[in-house]
Point group: D2
Chain length 142, copies 4
Protein backbone atom coordinates (compact mmCIF):
# COMPACT_ATOMS: atom_id res chain seq x y z
CA UNK A 1 0.00 0.00 0.00
CA UNK A 2 1.28 3.43 -0.92
CA UNK A 3 1.75 6.07 1.76
CA UNK A 4 -0.56 8.99 0.97
CA UNK A 5 1.14 12.34 0.37
CA UNK A 6 -1.94 14.29 1.47
CA UNK A 7 -4.50 13.46 4.14
CA UNK A 8 -8.22 13.60 3.51
CA UNK A 9 -8.33 16.90 5.42
CA UNK A 10 -5.50 18.34 3.31
CA UNK A 11 -7.15 17.15 0.10
CA UNK A 12 -10.45 18.73 1.12
CA UNK A 13 -8.79 22.06 1.91
CA UNK A 14 -6.78 22.04 -1.33
CA UNK A 15 -9.84 21.28 -3.43
CA UNK A 16 -12.05 23.87 -1.74
CA UNK A 17 -9.51 26.49 -2.79
CA UNK A 18 -8.68 25.16 -6.24
CA UNK A 19 -12.13 23.91 -7.29
CA UNK A 20 -14.57 26.09 -5.38
CA UNK A 21 -17.41 25.37 -7.80
CA UNK A 22 -17.25 21.66 -7.04
CA UNK A 23 -16.09 21.48 -3.46
CA UNK A 24 -16.95 24.72 -1.67
CA UNK A 25 -20.64 23.89 -1.48
CA UNK A 26 -20.03 20.66 0.35
CA UNK A 27 -21.91 18.56 -2.16
CA UNK A 28 -18.86 16.38 -2.83
CA UNK A 29 -17.17 14.75 0.15
CA UNK A 30 -13.94 12.75 0.24
CA UNK A 31 -14.72 9.70 2.34
CA UNK A 32 -11.33 8.03 1.95
CA UNK A 33 -8.03 8.52 0.08
CA UNK A 34 -4.96 6.40 0.77
CA UNK A 35 -2.41 7.01 -1.97
CA UNK A 36 -3.70 4.18 -4.16
CA UNK A 37 -7.46 4.52 -4.05
CA UNK A 38 -10.18 6.87 -2.86
CA UNK A 39 -13.93 7.07 -2.37
CA UNK A 40 -16.03 10.18 -2.92
CA UNK A 41 -19.69 10.82 -2.14
CA UNK A 42 -21.81 13.34 -4.01
CA UNK A 43 -25.00 14.28 -2.23
CA UNK A 44 -28.15 13.92 -4.30
CA UNK A 45 -29.49 17.09 -5.87
CA UNK A 46 -32.25 17.68 -8.39
CA UNK A 47 -29.62 19.32 -10.59
CA UNK A 48 -28.11 15.89 -11.25
CA UNK A 49 -31.14 14.58 -13.08
CA UNK A 50 -31.99 14.42 -16.74
CA UNK A 51 -35.46 13.80 -18.18
CA UNK A 52 -36.85 10.50 -16.98
CA UNK A 53 -35.45 11.09 -13.52
CA UNK A 54 -32.07 9.43 -14.05
CA UNK A 55 -28.68 10.82 -13.13
CA UNK A 56 -27.18 12.69 -16.08
CA UNK A 57 -24.04 11.62 -17.90
CA UNK A 58 -22.19 14.90 -17.28
CA UNK A 59 -22.81 14.53 -13.53
CA UNK A 60 -21.13 11.12 -13.58
CA UNK A 61 -18.27 12.21 -15.83
CA UNK A 62 -17.52 15.20 -13.62
CA UNK A 63 -17.52 13.14 -10.44
CA UNK A 64 -15.30 10.45 -11.99
CA UNK A 65 -12.82 13.04 -13.23
CA UNK A 66 -12.76 14.51 -9.75
CA UNK A 67 -12.18 11.13 -8.10
CA UNK A 68 -9.25 10.39 -10.39
CA UNK A 69 -7.75 13.76 -9.50
CA UNK A 70 -8.19 13.10 -5.77
CA UNK A 71 -6.49 9.71 -5.86
CA UNK A 72 -3.66 11.17 -7.93
CA UNK A 73 -3.12 14.09 -5.52
CA UNK A 74 -3.25 11.59 -2.68
CA UNK A 75 -0.45 9.64 -4.38
CA UNK A 76 1.86 12.45 -5.56
CA UNK A 77 0.90 15.44 -3.42
CA UNK A 78 0.04 18.95 -4.64
CA UNK A 79 2.99 19.10 -7.01
CA UNK A 80 1.87 20.99 -10.06
CA UNK A 81 -1.12 20.79 -12.29
CA UNK A 82 -1.82 17.34 -13.66
CA UNK A 83 -4.23 17.31 -16.59
CA UNK A 84 -6.56 14.63 -17.89
CA UNK A 85 -5.53 13.43 -21.34
CA UNK A 86 -8.11 10.69 -21.87
CA UNK A 87 -11.34 9.67 -20.21
CA UNK A 88 -13.53 6.76 -21.27
CA UNK A 89 -16.89 6.11 -19.67
CA UNK A 90 -19.30 3.21 -20.06
CA UNK A 91 -22.81 3.90 -18.79
CA UNK A 92 -24.15 0.65 -17.37
CA UNK A 93 -27.35 1.30 -15.41
CA UNK A 94 -29.59 4.16 -14.41
CA UNK A 95 -28.71 5.97 -11.20
CA UNK A 96 -31.79 6.30 -9.02
CA UNK A 97 -33.29 9.70 -8.23
CA UNK A 98 -32.92 10.63 -4.59
CA UNK A 99 -29.78 8.57 -4.02
CA UNK A 100 -26.29 9.87 -3.36
CA UNK A 101 -23.63 8.85 -5.88
CA UNK A 102 -20.34 7.26 -4.93
CA UNK A 103 -17.10 7.15 -6.90
CA UNK A 104 -14.48 4.56 -6.04
CA UNK A 105 -11.21 5.26 -7.84
CA UNK A 106 -7.96 3.35 -7.87
CA UNK A 107 -4.66 3.93 -9.61
CA UNK A 108 -3.67 1.31 -12.16
CA UNK A 109 -0.33 2.96 -12.91
CA UNK A 110 1.68 5.80 -11.48
CA UNK A 111 4.55 6.68 -13.79
CA UNK A 112 6.75 9.75 -13.97
CA UNK A 113 4.83 11.26 -16.85
CA UNK A 114 1.53 9.41 -16.97
CA UNK A 115 -0.87 8.03 -14.41
CA UNK A 116 -3.84 5.82 -15.17
CA UNK A 117 -6.74 4.65 -13.12
CA UNK A 118 -10.27 3.37 -13.06
CA UNK A 119 -13.39 4.63 -11.32
CA UNK A 120 -16.51 2.67 -10.43
CA UNK A 121 -19.66 4.78 -9.97
CA UNK A 122 -22.40 3.55 -7.65
CA UNK A 123 -25.88 4.78 -6.75
CA UNK A 124 -27.04 4.56 -3.13
CA UNK A 125 -26.36 1.21 -1.51
CA UNK A 126 -26.48 -0.91 -4.65
CA UNK A 127 -23.29 -2.83 -5.49
CA UNK A 128 -24.10 -2.89 -9.22
CA UNK A 129 -22.08 -0.09 -10.84
CA UNK A 130 -24.02 2.56 -12.76
CA UNK A 131 -20.93 3.52 -14.78
CA UNK A 132 -17.28 2.59 -15.19
CA UNK A 133 -14.54 5.03 -16.13
CA UNK A 134 -10.89 4.77 -17.09
CA UNK A 135 -8.76 7.89 -17.28
CA UNK A 136 -5.20 8.95 -17.98
CA UNK A 137 -3.48 11.95 -16.44
CA UNK A 138 -0.36 13.68 -17.72
CA UNK A 139 1.95 14.73 -14.90
CA UNK A 140 4.01 17.84 -15.59
CA UNK A 141 7.75 17.92 -14.99
CA UNK A 142 8.41 19.09 -11.46
CA UNK B 1 -27.23 14.11 -47.15
CA UNK B 2 -29.86 13.01 -44.70
CA UNK B 3 -33.12 14.95 -44.38
CA UNK B 4 -33.36 16.31 -40.83
CA UNK B 5 -36.36 15.14 -38.82
CA UNK B 6 -36.31 18.27 -36.67
CA UNK B 7 -35.41 21.83 -37.57
CA UNK B 8 -33.01 23.92 -35.51
CA UNK B 9 -35.99 25.79 -34.06
CA UNK B 10 -37.74 22.53 -33.15
CA UNK B 11 -34.56 21.16 -31.58
CA UNK B 12 -34.10 24.32 -29.54
CA UNK B 13 -37.68 24.19 -28.28
CA UNK B 14 -37.45 20.49 -27.44
CA UNK B 15 -34.20 20.92 -25.54
CA UNK B 16 -35.36 23.98 -23.60
CA UNK B 17 -38.19 21.84 -22.24
CA UNK B 18 -36.28 18.61 -21.74
CA UNK B 19 -32.94 20.01 -20.60
CA UNK B 20 -33.79 23.32 -18.97
CA UNK B 21 -30.56 23.41 -16.97
CA UNK B 22 -28.48 23.38 -20.13
CA UNK B 23 -30.62 25.18 -22.68
CA UNK B 24 -33.07 27.45 -20.90
CA UNK B 25 -30.40 29.98 -20.00
CA UNK B 26 -29.37 30.50 -23.59
CA UNK B 27 -25.73 29.68 -22.97
CA UNK B 28 -25.79 26.85 -25.52
CA UNK B 29 -26.99 27.67 -29.02
CA UNK B 30 -27.60 25.28 -31.92
CA UNK B 31 -26.01 26.95 -34.93
CA UNK B 32 -26.71 24.16 -37.40
CA UNK B 33 -28.20 20.64 -37.49
CA UNK B 34 -28.88 18.80 -40.73
CA UNK B 35 -29.61 15.17 -39.91
CA UNK B 36 -25.99 14.07 -40.26
CA UNK B 37 -24.03 16.75 -38.42
CA UNK B 38 -24.52 19.74 -36.18
CA UNK B 39 -22.64 22.66 -34.66
CA UNK B 40 -23.26 24.10 -31.20
CA UNK B 41 -21.83 27.21 -29.56
CA UNK B 42 -21.47 27.60 -25.82
CA UNK B 43 -20.99 31.16 -24.68
CA UNK B 44 -17.97 31.76 -22.47
CA UNK B 45 -18.62 31.92 -18.76
CA UNK B 46 -16.27 32.02 -15.78
CA UNK B 47 -17.99 28.87 -14.56
CA UNK B 48 -16.29 26.93 -17.38
CA UNK B 49 -12.82 27.47 -16.03
CA UNK B 50 -10.61 25.37 -13.84
CA UNK B 51 -7.51 26.60 -12.00
CA UNK B 52 -4.97 28.01 -14.41
CA UNK B 53 -7.70 29.63 -16.47
CA UNK B 54 -8.36 26.76 -18.84
CA UNK B 55 -11.72 25.30 -19.80
CA UNK B 56 -12.59 22.38 -17.53
CA UNK B 57 -12.94 18.79 -18.70
CA UNK B 58 -16.52 18.43 -17.45
CA UNK B 59 -17.53 21.51 -19.45
CA UNK B 60 -16.20 19.91 -22.63
CA UNK B 61 -17.66 16.48 -21.88
CA UNK B 62 -21.10 17.96 -21.21
CA UNK B 63 -21.10 20.00 -24.41
CA UNK B 64 -19.92 17.05 -26.49
CA UNK B 65 -22.60 14.79 -25.03
CA UNK B 66 -25.15 17.46 -25.83
CA UNK B 67 -23.93 17.85 -29.42
CA UNK B 68 -24.19 14.10 -30.01
CA UNK B 69 -27.73 14.17 -28.69
CA UNK B 70 -28.64 17.09 -30.97
CA UNK B 71 -27.32 15.45 -34.13
CA UNK B 72 -29.10 12.22 -33.20
CA UNK B 73 -32.43 13.97 -32.59
CA UNK B 74 -31.91 15.80 -35.85
CA UNK B 75 -31.52 12.41 -37.58
CA UNK B 76 -34.26 10.37 -35.93
CA UNK B 77 -36.65 12.93 -34.46
CA UNK B 78 -37.99 13.07 -30.90
CA UNK B 79 -38.84 9.39 -30.81
CA UNK B 80 -38.09 8.19 -27.31
CA UNK B 81 -35.22 8.53 -24.99
CA UNK B 82 -31.85 7.58 -26.46
CA UNK B 83 -29.14 7.09 -23.88
CA UNK B 84 -25.37 7.38 -24.12
CA UNK B 85 -23.68 4.03 -23.61
CA UNK B 86 -20.04 5.02 -24.18
CA UNK B 87 -18.16 8.29 -24.40
CA UNK B 88 -14.43 8.62 -25.00
CA UNK B 89 -12.69 11.99 -24.87
CA UNK B 90 -9.13 12.96 -25.72
CA UNK B 91 -8.06 16.33 -24.36
CA UNK B 92 -5.69 17.86 -26.87
CA UNK B 93 -5.08 21.54 -26.07
CA UNK B 94 -6.12 24.14 -23.56
CA UNK B 95 -9.25 26.11 -24.33
CA UNK B 96 -8.60 29.81 -23.91
CA UNK B 97 -10.35 31.83 -21.22
CA UNK B 98 -12.78 34.34 -22.64
CA UNK B 99 -13.50 32.37 -25.79
CA UNK B 100 -16.74 30.66 -26.73
CA UNK B 101 -16.53 26.90 -27.29
CA UNK B 102 -17.84 25.15 -30.37
CA UNK B 103 -18.83 21.53 -30.82
CA UNK B 104 -19.01 20.05 -34.29
CA UNK B 105 -20.64 16.63 -34.25
CA UNK B 106 -21.28 14.16 -37.03
CA UNK B 107 -22.88 10.75 -37.12
CA UNK B 108 -20.59 7.89 -38.10
CA UNK B 109 -23.35 5.31 -37.95
CA UNK B 110 -27.10 5.34 -37.53
CA UNK B 111 -28.40 1.84 -36.89
CA UNK B 112 -31.70 0.62 -35.54
CA UNK B 113 -30.34 -0.01 -32.07
CA UNK B 114 -27.06 1.92 -31.92
CA UNK B 115 -25.81 5.23 -33.24
CA UNK B 116 -22.21 6.38 -33.15
CA UNK B 117 -20.59 9.70 -33.82
CA UNK B 118 -17.65 11.96 -33.24
CA UNK B 119 -17.41 15.50 -31.91
CA UNK B 120 -14.62 17.99 -32.44
CA UNK B 121 -14.37 20.72 -29.79
CA UNK B 122 -12.93 24.10 -30.72
CA UNK B 123 -12.06 27.27 -28.80
CA UNK B 124 -12.81 30.65 -30.37
CA UNK B 125 -11.64 30.94 -33.96
CA UNK B 126 -8.77 28.46 -33.79
CA UNK B 127 -9.01 25.46 -36.11
CA UNK B 128 -6.87 23.29 -33.82
CA UNK B 129 -9.25 21.11 -31.80
CA UNK B 130 -9.06 21.35 -28.02
CA UNK B 131 -10.66 17.93 -27.59
CA UNK B 132 -12.03 15.06 -29.64
CA UNK B 133 -14.90 12.82 -28.57
CA UNK B 134 -16.49 9.63 -29.81
CA UNK B 135 -19.78 8.45 -28.38
CA UNK B 136 -22.31 5.68 -28.79
CA UNK B 137 -26.03 6.01 -28.19
CA UNK B 138 -28.49 3.20 -27.60
CA UNK B 139 -31.81 3.81 -29.35
CA UNK B 140 -34.83 2.30 -27.62
CA UNK B 141 -37.37 0.24 -29.51
CA UNK B 142 -40.09 2.49 -30.87
CA UNK C 1 -22.68 -15.79 -8.53
CA UNK C 2 -24.12 -16.50 -11.94
CA UNK C 3 -24.52 -20.09 -13.09
CA UNK C 4 -22.41 -20.58 -16.21
CA UNK C 5 -24.30 -21.61 -19.34
CA UNK C 6 -21.22 -23.34 -20.79
CA UNK C 7 -18.47 -25.25 -19.03
CA UNK C 8 -14.80 -24.59 -19.69
CA UNK C 9 -14.69 -27.76 -21.79
CA UNK C 10 -17.73 -26.67 -23.82
CA UNK C 11 -16.25 -23.20 -24.32
CA UNK C 12 -12.97 -24.67 -25.50
CA UNK C 13 -14.70 -26.95 -27.99
CA UNK C 14 -16.94 -24.14 -29.27
CA UNK C 15 -14.00 -21.78 -29.76
CA UNK C 16 -11.79 -24.37 -31.45
CA UNK C 17 -14.51 -24.74 -34.09
CA UNK C 18 -15.51 -21.08 -34.38
CA UNK C 19 -12.09 -19.44 -33.96
CA UNK C 20 -9.63 -22.03 -35.23
CA UNK C 21 -6.93 -19.42 -35.87
CA UNK C 22 -6.88 -18.44 -32.22
CA UNK C 23 -7.78 -21.60 -30.36
CA UNK C 24 -6.94 -24.62 -32.52
CA UNK C 25 -3.21 -24.24 -31.96
CA UNK C 26 -3.56 -24.43 -28.22
CA UNK C 27 -1.76 -21.16 -27.59
CA UNK C 28 -4.76 -19.70 -25.73
CA UNK C 29 -6.16 -21.72 -22.83
CA UNK C 30 -9.29 -21.04 -20.79
CA UNK C 31 -8.25 -21.52 -17.18
CA UNK C 32 -11.57 -20.55 -15.64
CA UNK C 33 -15.03 -19.25 -16.69
CA UNK C 34 -17.93 -19.03 -14.27
CA UNK C 35 -20.68 -16.96 -15.87
CA UNK C 36 -19.45 -13.68 -14.42
CA UNK C 37 -15.70 -13.78 -14.94
CA UNK C 38 -12.99 -15.78 -16.68
CA UNK C 39 -9.24 -16.16 -16.90
CA UNK C 40 -7.31 -16.99 -20.07
CA UNK C 41 -3.64 -17.81 -20.53
CA UNK C 42 -1.77 -17.18 -23.75
CA UNK C 43 1.51 -19.05 -24.03
CA UNK C 44 4.51 -16.92 -24.84
CA UNK C 45 5.60 -16.89 -28.46
CA UNK C 46 8.16 -14.78 -30.31
CA UNK C 47 5.31 -13.68 -32.57
CA UNK C 48 3.90 -11.61 -29.69
CA UNK C 49 6.86 -9.25 -29.57
CA UNK C 50 7.46 -5.88 -31.11
CA UNK C 51 10.82 -4.16 -31.45
CA UNK C 52 12.45 -3.70 -28.08
CA UNK C 53 11.27 -7.11 -26.93
CA UNK C 54 7.94 -6.03 -25.46
CA UNK C 55 4.57 -7.60 -26.05
CA UNK C 56 2.78 -5.89 -28.93
CA UNK C 57 -0.43 -3.91 -28.58
CA UNK C 58 -2.37 -6.01 -31.10
CA UNK C 59 -1.48 -9.17 -29.12
CA UNK C 60 -3.01 -7.66 -25.99
CA UNK C 61 -6.07 -6.25 -27.77
CA UNK C 62 -6.79 -9.61 -29.41
CA UNK C 63 -6.47 -11.53 -26.14
CA UNK C 64 -8.68 -9.02 -24.29
CA UNK C 65 -11.35 -9.19 -26.99
CA UNK C 66 -11.23 -12.97 -26.75
CA UNK C 67 -11.54 -12.95 -22.95
CA UNK C 68 -14.59 -10.69 -23.12
CA UNK C 69 -16.17 -13.07 -25.62
CA UNK C 70 -15.45 -16.08 -23.40
CA UNK C 71 -17.00 -14.54 -20.29
CA UNK C 72 -20.02 -13.48 -22.32
CA UNK C 73 -20.52 -16.96 -23.81
CA UNK C 74 -20.11 -18.36 -20.33
CA UNK C 75 -22.93 -16.09 -19.17
CA UNK C 76 -25.42 -16.39 -22.03
CA UNK C 77 -24.45 -19.62 -23.81
CA UNK C 78 -23.81 -20.08 -27.55
CA UNK C 79 -26.93 -18.16 -28.55
CA UNK C 80 -26.07 -16.25 -31.67
CA UNK C 81 -23.25 -14.05 -32.71
CA UNK C 82 -22.50 -11.22 -30.29
CA UNK C 83 -20.30 -8.50 -31.74
CA UNK C 84 -17.96 -6.02 -30.09
CA UNK C 85 -19.17 -2.46 -30.49
CA UNK C 86 -16.52 -0.61 -28.45
CA UNK C 87 -13.14 -1.51 -27.02
CA UNK C 88 -10.93 0.84 -25.04
CA UNK C 89 -7.43 -0.16 -23.97
CA UNK C 90 -4.94 1.60 -21.72
CA UNK C 91 -1.39 0.31 -22.02
CA UNK C 92 0.20 0.55 -18.59
CA UNK C 93 3.49 -1.36 -18.49
CA UNK C 94 5.67 -3.45 -20.76
CA UNK C 95 4.94 -7.15 -20.88
CA UNK C 96 8.14 -9.12 -20.41
CA UNK C 97 9.53 -11.30 -23.19
CA UNK C 98 9.38 -14.98 -22.37
CA UNK C 99 6.38 -14.68 -20.06
CA UNK C 100 2.89 -16.00 -20.67
CA UNK C 101 0.11 -13.42 -20.71
CA UNK C 102 -3.05 -13.69 -18.65
CA UNK C 103 -6.41 -12.01 -19.21
CA UNK C 104 -8.85 -11.72 -16.32
CA UNK C 105 -12.26 -10.57 -17.53
CA UNK C 106 -15.42 -9.83 -15.64
CA UNK C 107 -18.85 -8.67 -16.70
CA UNK C 108 -19.90 -5.26 -15.44
CA UNK C 109 -23.34 -5.47 -17.02
CA UNK C 110 -25.38 -8.11 -18.78
CA UNK C 111 -28.42 -6.58 -20.42
CA UNK C 112 -30.74 -7.91 -23.08
CA UNK C 113 -29.12 -5.93 -25.84
CA UNK C 114 -25.75 -4.84 -24.47
CA UNK C 115 -23.12 -6.39 -22.25
CA UNK C 116 -20.12 -4.58 -20.82
CA UNK C 117 -17.03 -5.77 -19.06
CA UNK C 118 -13.46 -5.10 -18.13
CA UNK C 119 -10.28 -7.08 -18.68
CA UNK C 120 -7.03 -6.86 -16.75
CA UNK C 121 -3.96 -8.09 -18.64
CA UNK C 122 -1.02 -9.49 -16.70
CA UNK C 123 2.47 -10.70 -17.62
CA UNK C 124 3.87 -13.80 -15.90
CA UNK C 125 3.45 -13.77 -12.13
CA UNK C 126 3.44 -9.98 -11.65
CA UNK C 127 0.30 -8.51 -10.09
CA UNK C 128 0.85 -5.12 -11.77
CA UNK C 129 -1.39 -5.02 -14.84
CA UNK C 130 0.27 -4.42 -18.20
CA UNK C 131 -2.96 -3.19 -19.74
CA UNK C 132 -6.60 -2.56 -18.85
CA UNK C 133 -9.50 -2.92 -21.26
CA UNK C 134 -13.18 -2.11 -21.22
CA UNK C 135 -15.45 -3.43 -23.94
CA UNK C 136 -19.09 -3.44 -24.96
CA UNK C 137 -20.82 -6.25 -26.82
CA UNK C 138 -24.08 -6.02 -28.74
CA UNK C 139 -26.24 -9.11 -28.24
CA UNK C 140 -28.46 -9.98 -31.19
CA UNK C 141 -32.14 -10.71 -30.76
CA UNK C 142 -32.62 -14.43 -30.17
CA UNK D 1 0.71 21.18 -44.11
CA UNK D 2 3.54 19.58 -42.20
CA UNK D 3 6.70 18.56 -44.04
CA UNK D 4 7.11 14.80 -43.66
CA UNK D 5 10.29 13.66 -41.92
CA UNK D 6 10.27 10.32 -43.74
CA UNK D 7 9.15 9.50 -47.26
CA UNK D 8 6.80 6.62 -48.04
CA UNK D 9 9.80 4.62 -49.28
CA UNK D 10 11.75 5.33 -46.08
CA UNK D 11 8.73 4.43 -43.94
CA UNK D 12 8.28 1.16 -45.81
CA UNK D 13 11.94 0.23 -45.39
CA UNK D 14 11.92 1.15 -41.69
CA UNK D 15 8.78 -0.86 -41.00
CA UNK D 16 9.95 -3.93 -42.94
CA UNK D 17 12.97 -4.06 -40.62
CA UNK D 18 11.21 -3.13 -37.38
CA UNK D 19 7.89 -4.91 -37.91
CA UNK D 20 8.73 -7.82 -40.19
CA UNK D 21 5.64 -9.78 -39.13
CA UNK D 22 3.35 -7.04 -40.38
CA UNK D 23 5.23 -5.49 -43.27
CA UNK D 24 7.70 -7.99 -44.68
CA UNK D 25 5.00 -10.06 -46.34
CA UNK D 26 3.70 -7.14 -48.33
CA UNK D 27 0.16 -7.47 -47.06
CA UNK D 28 0.15 -3.91 -45.69
CA UNK D 29 1.07 -1.11 -48.06
CA UNK D 30 1.59 2.57 -47.28
CA UNK D 31 -0.26 4.42 -50.01
CA UNK D 32 0.38 7.93 -48.67
CA UNK D 33 2.01 9.65 -45.68
CA UNK D 34 2.55 13.39 -45.52
CA UNK D 35 3.50 14.34 -41.97
CA UNK D 36 -0.09 14.98 -40.90
CA UNK D 37 -2.04 12.07 -42.34
CA UNK D 38 -1.53 8.74 -44.04
CA UNK D 39 -3.42 5.99 -45.82
CA UNK D 40 -2.63 2.27 -45.59
CA UNK D 41 -4.07 -0.65 -47.54
CA UNK D 42 -4.19 -4.17 -46.20
CA UNK D 43 -4.76 -6.82 -48.82
CA UNK D 44 -7.64 -9.16 -48.16
CA UNK D 45 -6.72 -12.52 -46.69
CA UNK D 46 -8.87 -15.33 -45.29
CA UNK D 47 -6.93 -14.91 -42.05
CA UNK D 48 -8.75 -11.60 -41.46
CA UNK D 49 -12.15 -13.21 -41.11
CA UNK D 50 -14.11 -14.29 -38.08
CA UNK D 51 -17.14 -16.61 -38.13
CA UNK D 52 -19.89 -15.19 -40.30
CA UNK D 53 -17.38 -14.00 -42.87
CA UNK D 54 -16.76 -10.55 -41.42
CA UNK D 55 -13.42 -8.89 -40.79
CA UNK D 56 -12.27 -9.56 -37.23
CA UNK D 57 -11.84 -6.90 -34.58
CA UNK D 58 -8.17 -7.69 -33.93
CA UNK D 59 -7.44 -7.26 -37.64
CA UNK D 60 -8.91 -3.76 -37.55
CA UNK D 61 -7.26 -2.81 -34.26
CA UNK D 62 -3.85 -3.94 -35.50
CA UNK D 63 -4.17 -2.01 -38.77
CA UNK D 64 -5.34 1.14 -36.97
CA UNK D 65 -2.48 0.96 -34.49
CA UNK D 66 -0.11 0.56 -37.41
CA UNK D 67 -1.58 3.55 -39.28
CA UNK D 68 -1.22 5.78 -36.22
CA UNK D 69 2.41 4.71 -35.93
CA UNK D 70 3.05 5.46 -39.61
CA UNK D 71 1.59 8.96 -39.47
CA UNK D 72 3.56 9.66 -36.31
CA UNK D 73 6.85 8.48 -37.83
CA UNK D 74 6.04 10.54 -40.89
CA UNK D 75 5.67 13.59 -38.61
CA UNK D 76 8.61 13.15 -36.24
CA UNK D 77 10.98 10.78 -38.04
CA UNK D 78 12.53 7.58 -36.67
CA UNK D 79 13.53 9.20 -33.39
CA UNK D 80 13.09 6.59 -30.72
CA UNK D 81 10.37 4.23 -29.78
CA UNK D 82 6.98 5.84 -29.37
CA UNK D 83 4.45 3.65 -27.57
CA UNK D 84 0.66 3.58 -27.68
CA UNK D 85 -0.85 4.57 -24.33
CA UNK D 86 -4.55 4.48 -25.23
CA UNK D 87 -6.59 3.13 -28.11
CA UNK D 88 -10.35 3.37 -28.43
CA UNK D 89 -12.22 1.66 -31.24
CA UNK D 90 -15.87 1.82 -32.25
CA UNK D 91 -16.98 -0.95 -34.58
CA UNK D 92 -19.59 0.51 -36.91
CA UNK D 93 -20.29 -1.89 -39.77
CA UNK D 94 -19.19 -5.26 -41.06
CA UNK D 95 -16.20 -5.33 -43.36
CA UNK D 96 -16.99 -7.40 -46.43
CA UNK D 97 -15.14 -10.64 -47.13
CA UNK D 98 -12.92 -10.41 -50.19
CA UNK D 99 -12.34 -6.67 -49.89
CA UNK D 100 -9.11 -4.92 -49.00
CA UNK D 101 -9.19 -2.74 -45.90
CA UNK D 102 -8.03 0.85 -45.81
CA UNK D 103 -6.91 2.92 -42.84
CA UNK D 104 -6.91 6.70 -43.08
CA UNK D 105 -5.12 8.27 -40.13
CA UNK D 106 -4.58 11.88 -39.21
CA UNK D 107 -2.84 13.57 -36.33
CA UNK D 108 -5.06 15.64 -34.06
CA UNK D 109 -2.19 16.78 -31.87
CA UNK D 110 1.58 16.54 -31.97
CA UNK D 111 3.07 17.60 -28.67
CA UNK D 112 6.51 17.06 -27.20
CA UNK D 113 5.40 14.20 -24.99
CA UNK D 114 2.07 13.07 -26.40
CA UNK D 115 0.57 12.70 -29.86
CA UNK D 116 -3.05 11.95 -30.61
CA UNK D 117 -4.86 11.01 -33.75
CA UNK D 118 -7.84 9.35 -35.31
CA UNK D 119 -8.15 6.56 -37.85
CA UNK D 120 -11.08 5.78 -40.13
CA UNK D 121 -11.26 2.18 -41.35
CA UNK D 122 -12.90 1.42 -44.68
CA UNK D 123 -13.77 -1.74 -46.58
CA UNK D 124 -13.27 -1.84 -50.34
CA UNK D 125 -14.68 1.17 -52.15
CA UNK D 126 -17.42 2.03 -49.66
CA UNK D 127 -17.22 5.46 -48.05
CA UNK D 128 -19.10 4.30 -44.94
CA UNK D 129 -16.50 3.60 -42.26
CA UNK D 130 -16.45 0.10 -40.77
CA UNK D 131 -14.69 1.32 -37.64
CA UNK D 132 -13.33 4.52 -36.07
CA UNK D 133 -10.31 4.68 -33.79
CA UNK D 134 -8.67 7.29 -31.62
CA UNK D 135 -5.25 6.68 -30.15
CA UNK D 136 -2.63 8.40 -28.04
CA UNK D 137 1.10 7.86 -28.33
CA UNK D 138 3.72 8.70 -25.72
CA UNK D 139 6.87 10.12 -27.28
CA UNK D 140 10.08 9.35 -25.37
CA UNK D 141 12.56 12.07 -24.54
CA UNK D 142 15.08 12.35 -27.37
Amino acid sequence: MAIPKMSVAELGEFLRVEFPQTFALGSVIIERADGGSCRLRERFSERMLRPGGTVSGPTLMALADCAMYVVLLSAIGPVGLAVTTNLNINFLRKGAAGQDIFAEARLLKLGKRLAGGEVTLLSGTSTDPIAHVTATYSIPNQ
